[in-house]
């Protein structure tokens, strides 16, 4: 592994909250187009990694490079500009806006209309709006959200909201997509919908993704490689099959269970 061809390079990231160490010397790489999964027991630090990747948390040590550019020390807005998109474990949608507006917010960085131009509306602002709406309509088609285009997101069923959030991340035209438990709390049918969508995205977009997920079956089906965390430390990074038979991984999970 290694080398400049990696899309994402994470080196020695350590994150502390007061006296608690959430992440300890975490290192990994993600290649272009790869589906990289992060698993581990509750509190292992999975979401903390994602929060570091899009700059919501600032690690005390270590470096995170996306396409050679350092992310540590930047603001979340900068991470978004550099091509990091994500979904949240408990949904991060804008509940009072409709589905299209939520998707359009994914396009925010791709647009330039300012306050004045927006208030005037005519000309460029309008053209830009039309062009970007088209892009969002494409995503609506792909994720089969047509019936909900003008519904307030807050009123939609949970499974649909999860799809909308995925769509919003896609609307950002990201280079790296972070998925935080995309199927948590979903029934079987909804889970399959999301899995299908993720596969489709992979097939069509050749997009690198980092997946944090509890659903082992999903992880094993989808991921190219899996990293296992326990108490903030990496205990294994390998292909799904290898990870499943790793002794330390089994201990971490069983130890937790008993």
């Amino acid at each position: 592994m290694g080398g400049v061809s990696e899309l994402l390079e994470v080196r020695g990231v350590t994150l502390r909250f007061g006296g608690v160490t959430a992440l300890e010397d975490v290192s990994f790489d993600v290649r272009g187009g790869e589906m990289f999964a992060v698993i581990g027991p509750n509190g292992a630090g999975k979401t903390s990694i994602l929060n570091c990747l899009n700059c919501l948390y600032r690690p005390q040590r270590g470096s995170i490079r996306l396409e050679g550019r350092e992310l540590v020390g930047r603001r979340p807005v900068a991470a978004a500009a550099l091509g990091v998109a994500r979904t949240f474990q408990n949904l991060g949608l804008f509940p009072n806006l409709d589905v299209l507006d939520n998707l359009m917010l994914g396009r925010h960085q791709r647009m330039t209309t300012g306050f004045l131009a927006g208030a005037l509306w005519v000309g460029k602002a309008r053209r830009e709006e039309v062009a970007n709406r088209q892009r969002c309509e494409e995503i609506v088609e792909m994720l089969e959200l047509q019936p909900f285009r003008h519904s307030s997101v807050g009123t939609l069923p949970y499974g649909v909201q999860k799809r909308v959030e995925l769509g919003r991340a896609l609307a950002m035209d990201p280079h790296l997509l972070l998925l935080d438990e995309p199927v948590a709390g979903m029934n079987l049918e909804e889970t399959e919908d999301i899995a299908r969508a993720v596969l489709e995205i992979r097939a069509e977009l050749d997009l690198a993704m980092i997946l944090v997920e509890h659903d082992m079956r999903l992880v094993m089906d989808l991921a190219d490689r899996v990293m296992v965390l326990d108490f903030g430390r990496v205990i294994a990074t390998d292909e799904p099959a290898a990870v499943q038979s790793d002794q330390r991984v089994i201990e971490a999970y069983l130890g937790k269970a008993s």
Partner: protein, 298 residues
């Protein structure tokens, strides 16, 4: 030197009044997360009910205060039950505005019943005074100071040891979860409003006692006490009292020395001094001196 002492003393008394008002804010904020703009309304109500019991019905003074505090506490609890409880989970501005709306209503209902004229509370102190070293001190002022300290001590004991006090701290942490846990959270909410009503009555009585007088514009002190709670941190009783004294004394010293030493700040700068202090402190500590930082959860 006498001037400094005199100013510090009168600032301390004003600070004690601010502290009493601020404690009423804190008890509600601490358990429900609401800034109660209607606190000034509760203060008015407690003040006028005391007047009514004392002067109109001729009840002995302390009994009148007790009756008024009880009645105001009940009104507080009632308002919580009928109005504020429906606002759980609503955005901050909505809750703020509901309490402002309640304040506006109380401000009109009070003079409808008692008129706009200045009334005499009929307290036992009047303008009696005692000498403390070089200072002449109104007996009423000493009571104000003592009450602020007693209420603070009671709050401390209540939050630390009382069954409901502990429950109150828990509900403050997560309102909806607390509601979901059932009846105790509901009681806690009503109780905190009741306590705020009782404390407001004490503040109102001390404000109107002696030469203060009972009139419907006395609630203005609640606005002046805002900087005190913001300064101390919205959820800290100790902070409220410290904030009250800081504001009271800095205001008093400003009124004494600013006209001479900093006349360019304009006449009546002491009136806005609390807000200046508040803004300066918030620029350094966005959650006040003793306040708890809101946790950002992702």
């Amino acid at each position: 030197m006498t001037k400094l002492l005199e100013l510090t003393f009168s600032g301390t008394i004003r600070g004690a009044l601010y502290a009493l008002v601020a404690l009423g804010f804190v008890v509600i904020y601490k358990s429900t997360g609401v800034i109660n703009f209607a606190q000034g309304g509760l203060l008015l109500l407690g003040m006028y009910l005391t007047y009514n019991a004392r002067v109109t019905w001729g009840v002995p003074f302390w009994l009148a205060v007790l009756l008024a505090a009880t009645a105001t506490a009940l009104v507080g609890a009632l308002v919580e039950r009928t109005v504020l409880r429906r606002m759980v989970g609503q955005p901050v501005f909505a809750v703020v505005m509901v309490t402002l709306g309640l304040l506006i209503i109380v401000q009109q209902v009070i003079p409808t019943i008692w008129g706009y004229d200045r009334l005499d509370l009929g307290d036992p102190w009047g303008v009696r005074k005692v000498s403390l070293g070089p200072l002449d001190v109104e007996v009423k002022d000493l009571w104000t100071l003592a009450l602020a300290v007693i209420v603070l001590a009671a709050f401390f004991a209540f939050f630390r040891f009382g069954r409901y006090g502990v429950a109150m701290r828990a509900t403050a942490f997560d309102q909806e979860a607390a509601i979901a846990q059932g009846i105790s959270a509901r009681r806690v909410f009503a109780l905190s409003w009741a306590i705020a009503g009782a404390v407001a009555t004490l503040a109102g009585v001390m404000l109107a006692a002696g030469s203060g007088g009972v009139d419907p514009s006395k609630d203005i002190i609640a606005l002046a006490a805002f900087p005190a709670i913001i300064l101390g941190g919205l959820d800290s009783p100790l902070g409220a009292v410290v904030g009250g004294f800081v504001i009271g004394i800095s205001q008093s010293l400003t009124s004494g020395y600013q006209p001479e030493h900093a006349p360019f700040l304009g006449e009546g700068f002491d009136v806005v001094m609390p807000y200046v202090v508040m803004v300066l402190i918030l620029l350094v500590r966005p959650y006040g001196l003793f306040g708890t930082r809101e946790v950002v959860r992702v």
